[in-house]
């Protein structure tokens, strides 16, 4: 029994290194997508202290809007532009109708309001675009679709989907762009000021409302990109929402306020759960992917409640 748990899986890994690499690659790509969702989340949490449960649904909603518009006959790039404007409208609406009236409420109320938003967006998305899963317009957007096979050793073979590579590249570009935006622009500086202290930022003339709308818009763009990448791998449907919840364990690992944390956490969860599923899953009947990430996060929490990159919490009275 112990042998099965602690030895066999590693023997299997050593036995077929190409398969292991393939599993790690799959996990890496899933991890990039988790990291992207977590990233949108961190943006909002940093700037407004809101635990945005709806980030996952924004991914689906953005993807659905894009595909739905294209199905309605709008050319792909115009649909993309329109989808971006929809996300901008959503950001303004969220700021105006949810964030502004709820300012200074306890965290738990803000979280629950985003759960309410989640339901609203699900209903709206399905009402407008229908509930059935849709195909992402990968080719129409000019994204690569083929795959490359890399030979390893004598018989080993690792298959890399081009779209996955594109996803990783786009993720890197987006993170760098965000980092530049945060560190080099006037709005970025204002964002960091708001993240640090709302009242102090207001007192030097920064408009909280404007900043929040911008942050939600940025999170919306990240959501759209994630939706495209994810939709290209599977279909665009609200089933994605369950997968998107995996961003929560990612955040626990990485800390709620750290962008590098979101990335590292996403990769750990992505790769960890794939390896766990493939090598340890069969021992208990498989399907452990649905909860493994949460358990990893849970165990991690017990030892390091502040996350990988968070600061140590000292309680005061």
């Amino acid at each position: 029994m112990l042998h099965q748990i602690f030895v066999d899986p590693f023997l299997q890994m050593a036995d077929m290194p190409d398969f292991l690499l393939q599993v790690i690659w799959e996990g890496f790509v899933a991890g990039v997508l988790y990291a992207l969702i977590a990233l949108g989340f961190v943006l909002i949490f940093k700037a407004s202290g809101v635990f945005n449960f709806a980030q996952g649904i924004m991914v689906v909603f953005a993807g659905l809007t894009l595909v739905g518009l294209h199905e309605a006959g709008v050319p792909a790039y115009l649909a993309l532009a329109l989808a971006i404007s929809v996300m901008a409208l959503l950001a303004i609406a969220v700021e105006r109708f949810v964030m502004r009236p709820l300012v200074n409420q306890p965290d738990i109320i803000l979280l629950m309001s985003t759960i309410g938003m989640t339901y609203f967006l699900i209903g709206l998305g399905e009402f407008v675009f229908g509930g059935e899963p849709k195909k992402m317009i990968t080719r129409e957007l000019g994204l690569p679709t083929g795959s490359t096979e890399i030979e390893i050793g004598e018989q080993g073979l690792v298959i890399l989907q081009h779209i996955d590579i594109a996803a990783a590249v786009i993720a890197i570009i987006m993170v760098s762009a965000l980092a530049l935006f945060f560190n080099k622009t006037r709005i970025g500086r204002a964002l960091r000021a708001v993240a640090d202290d709302h009242q102090a930022a207001q007192s030097v003339g920064i408009s909280l409302n404007q900043i929040w709308a911008i942050v939600w818009f940025a999170a919306g763009i990240v959501a759209l990109a994630t939706g495209i990448m994810w939709g290209a791998r599977s279909d665009v449907s609200f089933a994605l929402e369950i997968v998107a919840l995996k961003a929560l364990p990612v955040l626990i690992l990485g800390g709620f306020t750290s962008i590098p944390g979101a990335i590292v956490g996403g990769l750990i969860i992505g790769i960890g759960e794939k390896i766990g599923e493939i090598y340890w899953g069969p021992l208990v009947g498989g399907g452990i992917e649905s909860w493994l990430a949460y358990m990893i996060a849970l165990i991690f929490l017990l030892f390091r409640p502040q996350g990988l990159f968070g600061e140590r919490i000292i309680e005061r009275v």
Partner: protein, 274 residues
């Protein structure tokens, strides 16, 4: 209830400090957060029946000291002797069970509960009926509830807050909240009562009321009190002995008069070029 000993009437000792049984003894306590030293090698004692003030500039480690005494922080070095028992590490609820109650610098009431429930909350340790009696809320559980309610009503009368008995504390003005918090701490019938800035943010009238309550608690219930306060007038008036902290170190200890005339204390408060 403890027999009340008035240190003011005890015989002077050679070191000039009044006698009385030592209730709490802080021995060489040091507390660090990472590299930051909050408290460095502090020793002092609190005697039964006295009002002991802890003063010092902001960031001197006063609140940290209280947190160490009631187990919220565990010091890296040193120990605390309370009622003759020495301890290094103690959980806050154990400290409460051993007879230490306190109030907080920023009012820490249970905002969603009424005044009555808040003070009843202070009786937590006096109530023992188990889960199944609680479920039926009849017989022993009900009798226990009512017996404790009677005690709580006595405290409500003592603090003159009958009219706000059933008002949620979140709706009360600040001064009354402070008073309810004192009531909640008193409800535990503590041997040692720690008050963290009981008069912060109060106007003159409210301060006078609060001073009166503190003196009454001390003389009527015989409760030993340790308080942190910034208002020197109040401290000098109501306390028996004063300990002065600065940058986590003890720089003075004695009667108000002694402390007032200590050069080191004057320097800490007025600032001096070294």
């Amino acid at each position: 209830m403890n027999r009340h000993v008035d240190p003011r009437q005890a015989l002077p000792q050679p070191d000039g400090i009044a006698t009385g049984e030592v209730l709490l003894d802080v021995r060489n306590v040091s507390l660090r957060f990472g590299g930051v030293k909050a408290i460095t090698d502090i020793s002092f004692d609190i005697r039964k029946g006295e009002i002991r003030a802890i003063i010092g500039p902001n960031g001197a480690g006063k609140t940290s000291m209280l947190n160490v005494i009631n187990g919220f922080y565990t010091p890296q070095e040193g120990s605390i002797v309370f009622r003759g028992k020495e301890r290094k590490k103690i959980a806050p609820y154990e400290a409460a069970a051993s007879g230490i109650a306190r109030t907080f610098q920023n009012v820490a009431l249970f905002k969603g509960m009424s005044t009555l429930d808040n003070i009843m909350a202070g009786r937590t340790l006096a109530m023992h009926r188990n889960f199944f009696w609680q479920l039926i809320y009849y017989g022993p559980a009900l009798r226990e509830e009512i017996a404790n309610r009677r005690k709580v009503e006595e405290i409500i009368d003592f603090l003159e807050i009958q009219h706000i008995r059933k008002v949620p504390v979140g709706r009360l003005p600040y001064g009354l909240q402070k008073r309810v918090e004192l009531g909640r701490a008193l409800a535990a019938e503590p041997a040692l009562l720690l008050l963290d800035e009981p008069m912060a943010g109060m106007n003159l009238e409210e301060k006078e009321d609060m001073s009166r309550f503190i003196l009454d608690v001390n003389s009527q219930f015989g409760t030993t009190i340790a308080l942190i306060e910034h208002d020197m007038g109040v401290v000098m008036d109501i306390s028996d002995r004063v300990v002065v902290l600065d940058y986590g170190r003890k720089i003075g200890d004695g009667t108000p008069e002694e402390v007032k005339s200590s050069q080191e204390v004057i320097d800490a408060y007025l600032g001096v070029s070294h």
